[in-house]
C-alpha cells in the first residue's frame, strides 16, 4: 500500500486508504453491481407521466428487461423513488416521509418537467419549484411527458452512476 506522503490532510489519507484497500473496494464493486442491476422503483405521480411509467412496464417497452420491474408499493423495500408529477404543498410531507422511510442506499429520479421544476404549474401558489427543493435528486429526465425510452435512458444513466460508485450516502 503506497500512501502519498505529500498530503498531510487526514481526510485525504483515509480516502487514500479506502481506495487502496483491495478487499473493501472489490466488495464495493460487487455491491454496486448488484444495486445497479436491481432498482426496485416506488412510483409517485399525478397523471400523464405515470401513464408512461405504466407503458414502460407493459409489453411493448418492458422495464423487466433491465430487472427494474419489481414495483414496490412499500417504501421500505424500494430503492428508487420515481417522482413523476408536480409536488404540491399538500403532497410535500408525503414525499418527504416516503423518502425518509426508504432504506439506504436510495435514489430519486425526477421524471418530467413538472417534477424537475414545477413545469407549467411553476407559478401556482401551491406548487413547489421541483422535487430537488425537498429531497436530493439523482437523475433529471426532461420531457412532457417523458417517453418510456427516455425513462429507460435515465435509469441506465443512473446505473452508470451507481456502478462507478458516485452516489451519496446520507
Amino acid at each position: 500500500m503506497v500512501l502519498d506522503t505529500k498530503k498531510n490532510d487526514n481526510l485525504n489519507d483515509v480516502e487514500e486508504l479506502a481506495r487502496n484497500n483491495i478487499l473493501v473496494t472489490t466488495f464495493e464493486k460487487l455491491w454496486n453491481w448488484g444495486r445497479s442491476w436491481s432498482f426496485w422503483p416506488l412510483n409517485y405521480g399525478c397523471n400523464c407521466c405515470p401513464i408512461e411509467v405504466m407503458a414502460a412496464g407493459a409489453g411493448r417497452f418492458d422495464q423487466a428487461r433491465f430487472g427494474y420491474e419489481v414495483v414496490r408499493a412499500v417504501p421500505r423495500q424500494a430503492d428508487l423513488l420515481t417522482v413523476a408529477g408536480p409536488i404540491t404543498l399538500k403532497m410535500k410531507p408525503a414525499i418527504e416521509r416516503v423518502w425518509a422511510q426508504m432504506p439506504e442506499p436510495k435514489w430519486v429520479i425526477a421524471m418530467g418537467n413538472c417534477a424537475i421544476s414545477g413545469g407549467p404549474f411553476k407559478d401556482g401558489y401551491s406548487v413547489l419549484p421541483g422535487v430537488d427543493s425537498i429531497i436530493p435528486v439523482d437523475v433529471y429526465i426532461p420531457g412532457c411527458p417523458v417517453r418510456p425510452e427516455a425513462l429507460f435512458h435515465g435509469m441506465l444513466e443512473l446505473k452508470k452512476k451507481v456502478q462507478q460508485g458516485e452516489y451519496r450516502r446520507s
Binding site: L30, W33, G34, W37, S38, A64, G67
Partner: protein, 346 residues
C-alpha cells in the same frame, strides 16, 4: 444414476462409522448433512424459480422479461439478492423488536421443515415418518403464527390488517386442504408418503381423485398466499400486508420462505396426486423434480391469469364451497371403496 444419492449417503455413513462414531451419532451427523444439502438445494432452486417466474410472467404478457444479465437474464436474481443483502436494515422504533426480528426466521424455519418428509426419490427423504402427510399439514399450519408475529410486531396498521387477513384465510383453507388429502389416505391406507407413492404404481391418484386434486390445488393456492388469493399482501389495498415494515434481507427471508413453501406444496402435490418419483427411463429424483416444476408452472399460470378476488368472497368460497365439496369427496371415496370391495376388485 438411480441410486446416486442413496449410495452417496451410504458411503458417507460408512465413512463416519469408520471414524469411530457410534451408529446413532453417525445417523445424526448424516441427518444434518442431509438438512444442509436440502437447504442449499432450496436456496439455489429458489434463485432459479424467481427468475423463472419473472420470465414466465413476461411471456404471458408478451414481454421479454429479464434478458440483460447473463444468458436470458439468469443472473438477475443474484443481483437482486446482493442488493437485498446490502440494503439498510430498518427496525421501526415503535415495533416490538423481539417479535419483529424473530418472525422471518420462524417463517423460514417452518418452511424448510416441510422438506423433512417429502420423498425426493426412491429411498430419498430426510426422515421416513409413518405419519408424513399429517406432519406436512401440521407444520404448514405453523406458518400462520409467523405471519401473525410479523404483522403484530411491526406495529403498523397495514401489517396487522394483512396478518389478520392471512390468518383468517389460512385457518379456513387448512380444512379443505386436509380434507381433500383424506381421500388419498383412504385409498392408499397409509399416511406415509412413500407408501402413498407406492400405491400409485398403476394409477395416479389424480385420476382416482380428481375432485380432491382440484380442491387441494385451490386450497394450496390460498395457503401459499399466491395470486389470485394473495390477500395478505395485496399491494393495492394493504401496500405490503404483513411484510410492510420489513427491509432488505428480513423481507427477502419472507420472500424466500414463500417460494420454499411453494416448492414444498408442489412437491407434495406431485407426490400425492401425480405418482411421486415414479416414472419410466429417468432416475426417480429427476422425475420428482420434473413433476414439481410442472405443478409450479401451473401455479404461475393461475397467478398470472386471474385477478385478485375479494376477501369476503374468498372466505365464503372456502366455507360454502370447498369444505362441503371436500367432505362430499370423502363420502364418495368411502362409498367407492366399499363398492370396490363388494365387487371384489380390490
Amino acid at each position: 444414476m438411480e441410486a446416486l444419492f442413496v449410495n452417496l449417503a451410504a458411503v458417507l455413513s460408512g465413512w463416519l462409522t469408520s471414524l469411530g462414531l457410534s451408529p446413532i451419532w453417525a445417523d445424526t451427523v448424516l441427518l444434518f448433512v442431509k438438512w444442509i444439502i436440502v437447504i442449499t438445494i432450496i436456496t439455489l432452486n429458489i434463485i432459479i424459480l424467481i427468475w423463472l417466474e419473472r420470465k414466465v410472467s413476461a411471456f404471458f404478457q408478451e414481454r421479454l422479461g429479464p434478458n440483460r444479465l447473463g444468458p436470458f437474464g439468469i443472473f438477475q436474481t443474484i443481483a437482486d439478492a446482493i442488493k437485498l443483502l446490502t440494503k439498510e436494515d430498518i427496525v421501526p422504533s415503535a415495533a416490538d423488536k423481539l417479535i419483529f426480528k424473530t418472525a422471518p426466521m420462524f417463517f423460514i424455519v417452518v418452511a424448510v421443515m416441510l422438506y423433512t418428509v417429502i420423498p425426493m426419490g426412491q429411498g430419498m427423504e430426510v426422515i421416513n415418518l409413518n405419519i408424513g402427510l399429517l406432519f406436512f399439514i401440521s407444520i404448514g399450519s405453523l406458518s400462520t403464527i409467523a405471519l401473525l408475529m410479523a404483522g403484530w410486531g411491526s406495529n403498523n396498521k397495514w401489517s396487522l390488517m394483512g396478518a389478520v387477513r392471512s390468518v383468517a384465510q389460512m385457518v379456513s383453507y387448512e380444512i379443505p386442504l386436509a380434507f381433500s388429502l383424506l381421500g388419498v389416505v383412504m385409498i392408499s391406507g397409509s399416511l406415509n408418503l412413500q407408501d402413498i407413492v407406492a400405491a400409485q404404481g398403476k394409477l395416479w391418484f389424480i385420476i382416482l381423485q380428481p375432485i380432491a386434486f382440484i380442491t387441494y390445488f385451490i386450497a394450496a393456492t390460498a395457503e401459499l398466499n399466491r395470486g389470485p388469493f394473495d390477500m395478505p399482501e395485496a399491494e393495492q389495498e394493504l401496500t405490503g400486508g404483513a411484510y410492510t415494515e420489513y427491509t432488505g434481507m428480513r423481507w427477502a427471508l419472507f420472500f424466500l420462505a414463500e417460494y420454499t413453501n411453494l416448492v414444498a406444496v408442489s412437491a407434495l402435490m406431485a407426490t400425492v396426486f401425480l405418482g411421486g418419483w415414479q416414472g419410466p427411463w429417468l432416475p426417480s429424483w429427476l422425475w420428482i423434480i420434473i413433476k414439481t416444476y410442472g405443478v409450479i408452472l401451473v401455479f404461475f399460470w393461475v397467478k398470472w391469469t386471474f385477478p385478485r378476488i375479494r376477501m369476503d368472497h374468498l372466505m365464503s368460497f372456502s366455507w360454502k364451497v370447498l369444505v362441503p365439496v371436500s367432505l362430499g369427496n370423502i363420502l364418495l371415496t368411502g362409498a367407492g371403496i366399499y363398492f370396490c370391495r363388494w365387487m371384489g376388485w380390490c
